[in-house]
């Protein structure tokens, strides 16, 4: 296997993505809303209007947190607005860090192989010296990078926002917590890889980008829900449980990727799958 060729395929796909504002502008808006606008607006309202009855009602949400999480919140500050905004910053918005990149990577991955068929460029790749495995890995990297980049950049911006808005109420910068680090570095990547292993297989089999989007939405939605649930549960749990969850998902991703690699074949790049 030629590593340089894999990177060439990935780099070229990413270059095309960069040249496609019709794709990345909506994705930027999506990420901006979940990582910047929603938390900034909500947390600013809560910290600025602490005596409002509505805020008081939101504050009761802290009571439904698991005891360990509730203790962490109550240990930070005694005022209701501070506790509420801390809880929202750490526990409510956290799982979004999984949903947004998965949505972006799924959108990229769904088009990556079927797009080659549709444009006729699959013919070029099929006649090129790159092996099926190299093409698959290149496409996988090209789909993973936008999602993970979004995670890291979104995470960084989000940290800045919550620390600036909520930090003064809870005694200084508090974010990211150790659980968040594990989530970003250890849990999100395998979830992305697992989802893409399914999406790329679909993309290799279907006849059009529209079909790929529909099919991948259908298949990956449950995966996104699972990752959301696992991430939420992990955030409420311990660092060790996060590492355990991550390990399991890495194994599942490895199996999924190995199976997915077999789905990329030259006949499929040519739009032939046993039929004309």
């Amino acid at each position: 296997m030629n590593r340089r060729r894999i990177l060439t395929v990935a780099r070229t796909d990413l270059r095309q993505l960069r040249q496609s504002p019709d794709f990345w502008v909506p994705m930027m808006i999506l990420a901006g809303f979940f990582f910047v606008v929603a938390p900034a607006v909500l947390l600013s309202l809560i910290t600025a209007a602490e005596t409002s009855p509505a805020i008081q009602r939101v504050a009761t949400a802290v009571d439904v947190l698991p005891s360990a999480a509730r203790a962490a919140v109550e240990g930070k500050t005694s005022d209701a607005a501070g506790q509420t905004s801390y809880a929202l910053a750490v526990y409510l918005f956290a799982p979004l860090a999984v949903i947004v990149p998965m949505t972006i990577s799924t959108a990229v991955g769904a088009n990556t192989l079927v797009g080659e068929k549709e444009r006729g460029t699959g013919e070029f790749l099929a006649h090129s010296p790159a092996s099926d495995r190299e093409l698959y890995l290149g496409k996988l990297i090209a789909s993973l990078v936008p999602g993970y980049l979004t995670t890291m950049v979104g995470f960084g911006v989000y940290s800045l926002i919550v620390n600036l808005i909520v930090g003064p109420r809870v005694g200084g910068w508090f974010f990211p917590t150790s659980e968040w680090w594990v989530l970003m570095v250890w849990v999100v990547p395998p979830f992305l890889a697992l989802t893409l292993s399914v999406v790329l297989r679909l993309s290799a089999r279907v006849k059009s980008s529209a079909a790929a989007q529909q099919a991948s939405g259908l298949v990956t939605l449950p995966l996104i829900m699972v990752s959301y649930a696992q991430s939420s549960g992990f955030i409420f749990g311990t660092t060790a449980s996060g590492i355990g969850i991550g390990l399991l998902v890495w194994v599942a991703a490895a199996v999924g990727l190995a199976r997915g690699a077999r789905a990329v074949t030259r006949p499929r790049l040519l739009g032939i799958d046993g039929r004309l």
Binding site: R4, R5, T8, Q16, R119, H127, P267, L270, R275
Partner: protein, 326 residues
Amino acid sequence: MSPPGAPASLPLTGMPADDVVRLDGVRRTFGDVVALDGLSLRVAPGTVTVLLGPNGAGKTTAVRMITGALPPEHGTVAVFGLDPTVDGENVRRRCGVVSARSALYDRLSGYDNLRYSAELYGLGPSAPIEASAARFGIDAALSLRVGGYSTGMKTRLALARAVLHDPDLLLLDEPTSGLDPESSHAVLRLIDEMAADGKTVVMCTHLLLEAEGLADQVVMLEAGRDLVSGSPEELVARYWPHPTVAVDAENREALDAAAGAPGVLGYERNGAGAVVTVDDLSRVPDLVAGLVAVGARLRRVTPHEPTLEELYFAVRRRSADVGEEP
């Protein structure tokens, strides 16, 4: 040019090393459709082979078999003595392909398209991108997005990409479809240059005029089978074993007298006068004298070289006759 590292495996047992391409009894179906039905093909090094046939004859599938992009269901394929389904990388590194669709990335610039190919073929930073583009007169547009190119520009860029790595075997699949005369000329010039450099060319087409004068070997396909193959001269000799003469006169009806002249085996009027088949060219002076004697005001008497088009239709006509082998 043989690329570094190729070939990795030994030639297939029993395969003569001198055939660049060898297909034996290759069959490939797509569902109920038979794309190739026992096709056999030999392509000698340094030759130009033209695959002729109507749409759906199996030409594109044959090209895909040669590079290993599609495996055969039955039969064997050997290219440079290697099995492309096993040694695909080594075979494809030595092939340049121009597909019927230009297969370019519209969102990328011309330069980036060539760069992508250069990197996949392992050419490194010294890849002759500008030189290759200049060869086809597309260098001035390299910085532009391919999506804005005309059909002719795209084909010329596809040609530049196909020869970027100096392939030993060039495969052209309907390369001039929908092209303006200038771009068509660029394709035909490339074939000439490749042949002059001792490279091997396989071109699929259903446009007979473009194949005229290029082919060392003509293979006519129909329904995935090779109806007939050989050099144009061999095929002409097979289908027109006797010499023919094209004659024309101001009073064309007078030409009909040629039908009964001594040594005339066939006579056919057409829009440009008549074509007369004689048993020997030495009959022509007497034929001319006879026509003049009956009052024909002759304008032209020339030896008739059957065109590839005439050959094509002759083969197709004969193949359509029930029970008759072409």
